[in-house]
């Protein structure tokens, strides 16, 4: 039985679209309809034209291009997982697998407990008590809490509100009042766009290499949450990602920390920053929290194995956010240079790389935020590439 070539071609095309979805590049129905319409209206004379048709109608982001090319090559150019052209008879039209496009192997596991010096991918299920907050810390936390509101970035609200002085007359309101007074305008009202604070997203690394700093880093997050409760989101990560906004919202610091320690099961274990950030960004609801926000990552950035996923994820986080600030306990040391592979590779995506290991250093960095927020983007690389003037702290 010989099947109609048109049907075969249609099957093949359908298989390609399905494979795209399998490769994590789902195309919206409208986009697929666009492609099919174009092919029907002006049949592509060659493969290159077909490639461009498909790429321009279906692709949505240049970052997806390599994956897209792999699937396309597999289906329309030789040597791929797609059925040969024409497909063998009796092909039931079932879509072949997208052919595992170069999935990177996870970094090798090494059964070694996290010793706190070097990052390991070993996942431990540890919960931990974070200790009590002494009076000195409490005072520092109060100072921090008071410092946050002044440094958080704001953006003009979209919704104009009546104001004493504003850039626009509230003519709508004036007209309404005029109706009441027989068309007489008695007073003018004004409208302004009140500033609306941007979202603040804090990602805290709780892995073993940060063991001694974790309680203080969480206290820093707690003060931010207290200062701007409605606009702050806090996540913590080791080998897993945990949303701790609700737990950390308790007014009393120690109670908040205790609630967090009950939630976090991967404290003091290994790190997989890349995988965790990818998981964060892969969840659209989480990714939406980063959009236009001030994103602060509290981590030493020690990534084991392949650092490419981490670098990619940081770049995306940076594009989503308003500013991306990285606070690393290691950067407190005057001899620190961001030279580990992962840190060096992601430095161009960062707006600022500062040193935070406890509450006083956090306070210093928080006070440095306005300069970071008002300056141009992606200047961390520049600042760290020039020799450091004597005695300056970043």
């Amino acid at each position: 039985m010989v099947r109609d070539p048109v049907v075969l071609a249609a099957d093949h095309l359908w298989g390609f679209l399905t494979a795209l979805r399998g490769a994590g590049l789902p195309a919206a129905p409208a986009k697929r309809a666009d492609l099919l319409r174009v092919i029907a209206e002006s049949p592509p004379p060659d493969l290159t034209t077909l490639y461009w048709y498909a790429r321009i109608t279906l692709l949505q982001d240049v970052g997806d291009l390599p994956a897209f090319d792999r699937v396309f090559d597999g289906w329309f150019r030789q040597g791929g997982p797609g059925p040969a052209d024409p497909p063998p008879e009796g092909d039931d039209g079932g879509a072949p697998s997208p052919g595992g496009p170069g999935e990177d192997d996870p970094p090798p596991h090494e059964a070694r407990p996290g010793d706190g010096i070097e990052a390991s991918t070993l996942s431990t299920y540890g919960t931990r008590e974070f200790g009590r907050t002494g009076e000195r810390r409490r005072a520092l936390m109060r100072t921090l809490e008071a410092a946050w509101p002044a440094v958080l970035p704001a953006t003009p609200s979209r919704r104009r509100r009546p104001a004493r002085s504003g850039d626009r007359l509230d003519v709508r309101h004036a007209l309404r009042c005029a109706h009441r007074h027989d068309g007489e305008i008695i007073e003018l009202r004004r409208l302004a766009r009140p500033p609306r604070p941007r979202r603040l997203l804090i990602l805290v690394d709780v892995s073993g290499s940060l063991r001694q700093h974790t309680p203080d880093l969480l206290r820093v997050a707690h003060t931010a949450l207290r200062a701007a409760p409605a606009r702050t989101e806090v996540f913590c990560f080791g080998t897993r990602l945990t949303r701790i906004t609700a737990a950390l919202s308790r007014p009393h610091a120690d109670r908040a920390l205790r609630a967090v320690s009950g939630l976090v099961t991967d404290a003091d274990g290994g790190t997989a920053i890349g995988a965790v950030l990818e998981r964060f960004l892969g969840n659209p609801r989480f990714a939406a929290l980063a959009r236009g926000a001030l994103v602060i990552v509290l981590s030493d950035g020690l990534e084991r194995g392949d650092c490419a996923p981490m670098v990619r994820a940081t770049a995306r986080l940076s594009r989503l956010g308003h500013r991306l600030v990285w606070w690393s306990p290691l950067a407190c040391s005057p001899t620190y240079r961001p030279v580990t592979r992962a840190m060096a590779a992601q430095l161009p995506s960062l707006d600022h790389l500062g040193g935070v290991r406890d509450l006083p250093t956090a306070l210093a960095e928080v006070r440095r935020l306005p300069a970071v927020l008002s300056g141009p983007r992606h200047t961390a690389a520049r600042r760290w590439s020039t020799p450091r003037p004597m005695g300056s702290t970043r």
């Binding site: 919206a28 409208a30 986009k31 666009d34 319409r37 174009v38 209206e41 002006s42 290159t48 034209t49 461009w52 048709y53 790429r55 321009i56 109608t57 692709l59 949505q60 982001d61 240049v62 291009l65 953006t155 003009p156 979209r158 007359l169 003519v171 709508r172 004036a174 007209l175 005029a178 068309g183 305008i185 766009r193 959009r291 236009g292 995306r316 594009r319 989503l320 956010g321 983007r377 690389a381 520049r382 590439s385």
Partner: protein
């Protein structure tokens, strides 16, 4: 939808028409423009600064003979500046005039009290238009929501008037420098094309078209040098605009008596506009410019 000029729906003629206006598009971009015209969809162009994203719209407007309407995006851009606004002072005057004449005020939300901002102008253009929404990544992400209705159906809903639909849909080009990620909903409504830096042949053609007096050998060396410069880890890689400026500057210096290689180096400020990049470049000057 029928494209503004039916002959433009043939890809080869489109490429020739663009080249006739001095824009040398590669195959991908030609296909992208062709599909945008044929499907009547907005075209989202991304690419590094200076690869000619904005120019696409300008050239399209010249080729089609349609008006170019430009909306430059910036942080804080709102619907009153992009879509439409009521002319309240005029409405107030109308109230006073009607009052002094003892007439009824009538309807204050009529066409004549409407201020047309770029998007509404594009919808109202009878012959159609080329609408350029430039650097959409500079507007806040909330602004994208205002664009959705427009980009999906080329219509704008004004509560007091109803829905205004475009008689002839505009040709819409959006550009982004990818400083932030755009919403999926926006991207779904657009065709997408990433403009890469041009290959040597195309860049040579661009240079020779832009600068009539440029010798072939000089253009050759220049393009080679620029391509190498782009491979360096620079903070800002030079785009086409910069390489054209560089060639122009070097030409001017060469006419003033400088030997060509010296002229090239002295005009470097036109190619690289960052102190650190310049230092990096000078460190590699030998290998970059030896055969330029």
């Amino acid at each position: 939808m029928t494209p503004a000029a039916p002959w433009l729906s043939h890809e080869r003629e489109l490429a020739a028409a663009l080249a006739g206006e001095g824009y040398f598009a590669d195959e991908g971009l030609c296909t992208a423009v062709h599909l945008a015209l044929r499907l009547g969809r907005p075209l989202l162009l991304e690419g590094e600064p200076g690869v000619g994203k904005t120019e696409v719209a300008a050239v399209l407007s010249r080729v089609t003979g349609l008006d170019l309407i430009r909306l430059q995006c910036f942080e804080g851009l709102d619907s009153g500046q992009a879509l439409y606004e009521w002319d309240y002072p005029k409405q107030l005057l109308q109230v006073r005039v009607a009052e002094s004449r003892g007439e009824d005020v009538g309807d204050l939300y009529r066409e004549e009290f409407l201020l047309r901002r770029p998007l509404l102008r594009a919808v109202r253009a009878e012959r159609g238009s080329v609408l350029l929404i430039d650097e959409i990544d500079r507007a806040d992400s909330e602004f994208e929501a205002f664009l959705l209705e427009f980009l999906g159906d080329f219509q704008i809903t004004i509560p007091e008037l109803g829905t205004v639909r475009a008689g002839t849909p505009p040709i819409v080009v959006l550009t982004s420098n990818r400083t932030r990620e755009l919403h999926d909903a926006l991207k779904r409504r657009c065709l997408y094309h990433w403009i890469a830096f041009p290959e040597p042949d195309r860049e040579r053609a661009i240079l020779r078209a832009a600068i009539p007096g440029l010798e072939e050998r000089a253009a050759d060396g220049l393009v080679r040098a620029v391509q190498r410069v782009r491979r360096l880890p620079l903070l800002k890689r030079p785009g086409i605009a910069e390489s054209v400026e560089w060639a122009r500057g070097a030409m001017a210096l060469a006419e003033g008596g400088s030997p060509w290689p010296v002229a090239l180096r002295r005009a470097l400020g036109l190619l690289i506009k960052d102190e650190e990049d310049t230092r990096l470049l000078l460190a590699h000057a030998g290998e970059l410019f030896d055969d330029a």
